[in-house]
Amino acid sequence: MTNQQQVEQGDKKQKVENPKVKSIKDFYRRLKKNKAALIGFYTILILIAVSIIGPFLTSHDPNSTNVTERFQGPSAEYWFGTDHMGRDIFTRIIHGMSLTLGIGFASVIMGALVGIPIGIISGYYGGRIDNIIMRLIDILLAFPGILLALAIVSILGGSLVNVTIAVAIYAIPGFARIIRGSTLAAKKLEYVDAIRALGAKDGRIIFKHIMPNVLSPVIVNATLYIASAVLTAAGLSFLGMGAQPPTPEWGAMLNDGRGYMYDAGHIAFFPGMFIVIVVLAFNIFGDGLRDALDPKMKK
């Protein structure tokens, strides 16, 4: 290969990459216009930062019990009060943040890694494969809401890892369906026909030309799925099927507080409030992303 050819190739690459860089900038520009989405985005960043740094900064131990300090209301010493075992609720919430975010991200990434290829294969190849896959997806979708996750956890047994797996499986059908839809649309684009006519192989068409076209709905849905994954995982822990004591998982903490609603309502209040904050942040961000990525909104 001569030098000139290499330079030419490099040029070509840059030409291909430039629009991408532009579209990321363009995307951020559009996101910036949506103030709510930006607030959601920054809240998520702050939450992630707190989940990493926070545990080093708290002055109490999340799991050390103190019988004399049980059921304390919020105070300067215990910002969110103490629970039925005298543990500092604020410290436990900060330590639990990485669990909540971790389960949310991990389950959605796992669900997407399985769901996306299924959706692309189904949409791209069509015919009998598509039919079979979609009927299987229909069956999974026949278990509404938290039910599928409950069924899976009942087989695997209750633990945080199993909850993550259960929530991931629960996310697969949604991803597969969305990707299938956008693959069907992308497949019909003229330039895909042109590339096929030039003799490109299926793998190349899928990775280089279909994938970039179907990823934006994936990102929007992944964001919104994290919100529902957090809710589902907390729900399973609330039922006693997720995190086992003394793990400071928020759903499990809510479950602890449930028995003391008459005397110490704050035990259940604060973990729930933080679940709301996390879910709200992802929902707002997801809504904003959808608007920012929607071509109809482009101006």
């Binding site: 278990f143 609330f238 099927m241 729930g272």
Partner: protein, 307 residues
């Protein structure tokens, strides 16, 4: 129309078969021998074997599935391992409690969601629109079990207006129904708003306004009718999530419904009951969605039924 309904019913069969296969496999994928579980840990091997024979656990899987499905079709959902009673008796009335809860919550979410969505759309970008959409976003983001506990704390414990637990009297019904219905109301409100906005910008609405039709009639007669079409689908899907969400609501308010039975049975590894609860909820969900699809076709005359 009849042809369409019949075809949809036929399409239902593979889904229902798939659901029963999955639910059936549930029990067989579970680690541990059910016969051993039933007989107790220290039971002699002969007893375990006898129970295995009685349950048909030594037959090949397809035969076992066939036996299971024949039973299910005849209303025999197996025997509870814990109480040694027919599962159908265990489920019995609890099924109707959960259905009641889910139906009331659905009605509430349709009522609140439609009103909020229409107001939001008609007064787009007004203070009421923004307020409604913020409330809806919160409603969507709250775990219903937390909302339930908080409602219980304020209205039942602090104010003493309602009994904190139980099911049956109207005062007992209100808090759980609000708990369960809030998320649904939020979703329906958002859906109604965006659907209304889409319809309102269409030409025929402008024509109606131009020829001097009163705004109220334009909104409720011309726009709402078409805007409702996508909302109907959401309502169907919502009913399913509400059935499943009832599990958490029933736990919070100590309501003796199927959801609570399901959770207790998972805890006690009473798999026939777990199987039955999951199967029943899924079948109800699938059937409700079929009904919704059919009504959707009624509402939307533009869809060709023979397609």
């Amino acid at each position: 129309m009849t042809v369409y309904i019949i075809r949809r019913l036929i399409q239902l069969i593979p889904v229902l078969l798939g659901v029963t296969i999955l639910v059936f496999l549930l029990m067989h994928l579970t680690p541990g021998n059910p016969a051993q579980l039933m007989a107790g840990e220290n039971a002699p091997p002969e007893t375990v074997e006898r129970i295995e024979d009685r349950l048909g656990l030594n037959d090949p899987l397809p035969v076992q599935y066939f036996d299971y499905i024949t039973g299910v079709v005849q209303g025999d959902l197996g025997t509870s391992m814990r109480y040694n009673t027919p599962v159908i008796d265990e489920v019995g009335d609890r099924f109707w409690v959960t259905m009641e809860l889910a139906i009331y919550a659905t009605l509430l979410s349709i009522f609140l969601g439609l009103i909020a969505g229409i107001i939001s759309a008609v007064r787009q970008y007004s203070v009421s629109d923004v307020t409604i959409m913020i409330i809806a976003l919160f409603g969507l983001s709250m775990p219903n079990f937390w909302l339930g506990l908080m409602l219980m704390q304020w209205f039942a414990i602090n104010l003493g207006w309602f009994p904190p637990t139980g099911w049956g009297s109207p005062s007992q019904v209100l808090l759980p129904v609000i708990t369960l219905g809030t998320a649904g109301a939020a979703i329906i409100a958002r859906m109604t708003r965006s659907s209304m906005l889409e319809v309102i910008s269409q030409d025929y609405i402008r024509t109606a306004r131009a020829k001097g039709v009163k705004e109220r009639i334009v909104v409720y007669k011309h726009a709402l009718k078409n805007a409702l079409i996508p909302v109907v689908t959401v309502v169907g899907l919502q009913f399913g999530s509400l059935l499943a969400g009832a599990v958490l609501t029933e736990e919070v308010f100590a309501i003796n419904g199927m959801g609570r039975l399901l959770v207790d049975s998972i805890m006690n590894r009473d798999f026939p009951v777990v199987q039955a609860c999951i199967l029943i909820i899924s079948v109800v969900f699938v059937v409700v969605n079929l009904l919704v699809d059919i009504s959707y076709r009624f509402l939307n005359k533009r869809i060709d039924l023979n397609e």
